[in-house]
């Protein structure tokens, strides 16, 4: 008998063991749901899976009586657009600030202290300011996401830039490279896969800011919807929405990691 620390599951067992907690959670939910529904058939707290299915069919495939939209898809589209725009802006600014402060001592001296302070400001505390300054429209929600994750991306990229071995920068100079050539041809390409990694890490906070902004001031979106139907205790909508948000988050993360491997094979091999 091997020590437990040395015992490894085989491939099939790994998959089965990974699925087990999910199955258990679903089972526990079903038992609880059945128990409550047996006592009170109109219980709203733990709706049955068939009930949730019916509600979602209605949300996804029947046009809303008020607006004529397919609410589920409309919410998804709005939310993903906001998240995408916010993250894209944050990635661009973060990349620029991070690379420049990470590689140019003069820029670093001017902006690093500011960056440190800005990254300590709680972004949600800025939300009222955003609402006052830019109004309740799309801009404030996108701005919240961008403001929330830009400092993280910028600081991460700054660190990654500093990690590039100084030998490479010296080498480039002995080959005649100017500052801009080093930035564009040596640093930037090596930072791009790190940027995608930073974006993946920041997406969690991105969703947080998105849902917070939608909960407070919006007329559609995934976050808006779950906070809206909360008033009617509609767990049959909230729970599938949460699962859908989780699935979207997983898919985006997975696609970004695949994109990274596809675009930057040299980076993937180096780190493995």
């Amino acid at each position: 008998m091997k020590k437990f620390i040395n015992a490894k599951p085989n491939r099939t067992n790994t998959i089965l063991l990974g699925l087990l907690p999910f199955a258990l959670l679903i089972l526990v939910y079903m038992i609880g749901s059945d128990a409550r529904l047996a006592i009170n058939p109109s219980d709203k707290l733990l709706p049955s899976f068939s009930h949730m299915g019916e509600s979602m069919m209605r949300m996804a495939f029947e046009p809303s009586k008020r607006t004529g939209d397919y609410l589920f898809w409309q919410d998804t589209l709005s939310s993903l657009t906001r998240l995408g725009a916010g993250v894209l802006i944050a990635a661009c600014i973060g990349l620029l600030v991070g690379v420049l402060t990470g590689s140019l001592p003069f820029v670093s001296a001017s902006f690093s202290p500011l960056l440190t302070v800005v990254s300590l400001v709680p972004p949600l505390a800025l939300l009222p300011i955003l609402f006052i300054v830019v109004g309740l429209g799309e801009v404030s929600k996108i701005a919240l996401i961008a403001i929330g994750i830009t400092p993280f991306i910028a600081r991460d990229i700054q660190g990654r830039t500093q990690e590039i071995p100084s030998e490479q920068l010296v080498k480039a100079q002995t080959l005649g490279a100017s500052t801009s050539q080093i930035l564009i041809r040596v640093i930037l390409p090596q930072i791009m896969p790190k940027l995608i990694d930073a974006v993946r890490l920041s997406l969690g906070s991105g969703w947080l800011f998105l849902i917070a902004a939608e909960a407070i001031a919006s007329t559609d979106g995934l976050g808006y919807r779950i906070f809206l139907v909360r008033r009617y205790l509609s767990m049959d909508v909230i729970l599938p929405y949460v699962a859908w948000i989780t699935l979207l988050a997983f898919l985006v993360d997975y696609l970004l990691s695949k994109l990274n491997q596809r675009l930057f094979p040299w980076n993937y091999e180096v780190s493995s």
Binding site: P165, E167, Q168, V170, K171, A172, Q173, T174, L175, G176, A177, S178, S180, Q181, I184, R185, V186, P189, Q190, F264, P265, W266, N267, E269, V270
Partner: protein
């Protein structure tokens, strides 16, 4: 020391380097002529790499002067002084061929250093030819992580040479390589040195390598020593020897002259000497 001749390329006048109270180098005075192949040996921390970095332009002298063609050496790296480090000398995100083409691109004063059209074709041909010289023509499309250590160093050398530097600096370039591969690399470096009429400075731990490769050997060591303050005095060049690469009697003679060196604490080189 040596008598001054016309083609002096590097001149050190009472050169010294200190960090705070720690003296690394002191009183280094030498002349180097164009076309010499100098190997720098000595124990770790004896300042031989510091000397190399001063020529490279990433360290500056705290005492004395270091002159290139009679003028103070530039205080940043430039394309007249090529470098090959022990590692991290090539760009991991470019293929072998791109690494060398990029070196050509850096020569052009443009914002990005990208080459297009005819310029790129010419650079590609030159790069291919240079990679053939270092024996990498079979690996043009590979990324550096797919290359062995020796092949990576070959690439780094090709990159440095395509910029036609006058001085080639080698900072323990073969320290991480297997002995068999080292021998190949030695042959390559000697060949390129003659072909491209370079002035070479090579830092090494291996005294044997120094004798075999160099036309001139410098041994760095402390002349003065205070046991209570080990860093109070810096190292200097204690032996400055001309080395003939082919003459066996001369090799023996220098070998005999250098034998006392392990006694004066160059432990890094004592091991290879035992083998003879």
């Amino acid at each position: 020391m040596m008598t001054e001749k016309q083609a002096t390329i590097i001149q050190a006048k009472n050169l010294g380097k200190r960090y705070g109270n720690d003296v690394i180098l002191e009183r280094v005075s030498v002349n180097v002529e164009e076309g010499e192949f100098i190997t720098l040996v000595g124990a770790s921390g004896c300042g031989k790499s510091t000397f190399l970095k001063m020529i490279l332009g990433i360290e500056s002298a705290t005492d004395g002067e270091l002159l290139l063609d009679g003028k103070p050496i530039p205080d940043e790296p430039g394309s007249d002084r090529g470098i090959v480090f022990q590692q991290y000398s090539v760009f991991p995100h470019m293929t072998v061929l791109e690494n060398v083409i990029a070196a050509k691109g850096f020569q052009k004063p443009s914002i990005s250093g990208y080459l297009f059209g005819k310029e790129r074709r010419i650079a590609k041909d030159e790069a291919t030819e240079m990679l053939e010289q270092v024996g990498l023509s079979h690996a043009l499309g590979r990324y550096p992580h797919e290359l062995s250590g020796g092949m990576q160093q070959r690439l780094a050398i090709a990159q440095a040479l395509i910029c036609k530097p006058r001085i080639l600096l080698l900072d323990e370039p073969f320290g991480a390589l297997d002995p068999g591969i080292r021998a190949d690399m030695h042959a390559l470096v000697l060949d390129l040195w003659r072909k491209h009429k370079l002035t070479v400075f090579m830092v090494t731990h291996d005294l044997k390598e120094g004798f075999y490769l160099g036309s001139r050997l410098w041994v760095f060591d402390k002349v003065r020593h205070d046991p209570h303050a080990p860093n109070a005095y810096g190292a200097s060049i204690t032996y400055d020897l001309m080395v003939g690469q082919t003459s066996t009697p001369l090799y023996k003679e220098i070998d005999n002259r250098i034998r006392p060196i392990p006694a004066i604490s160059i432990d890094a080189v004592s091991v290879p000497l035992e083998n003879k």
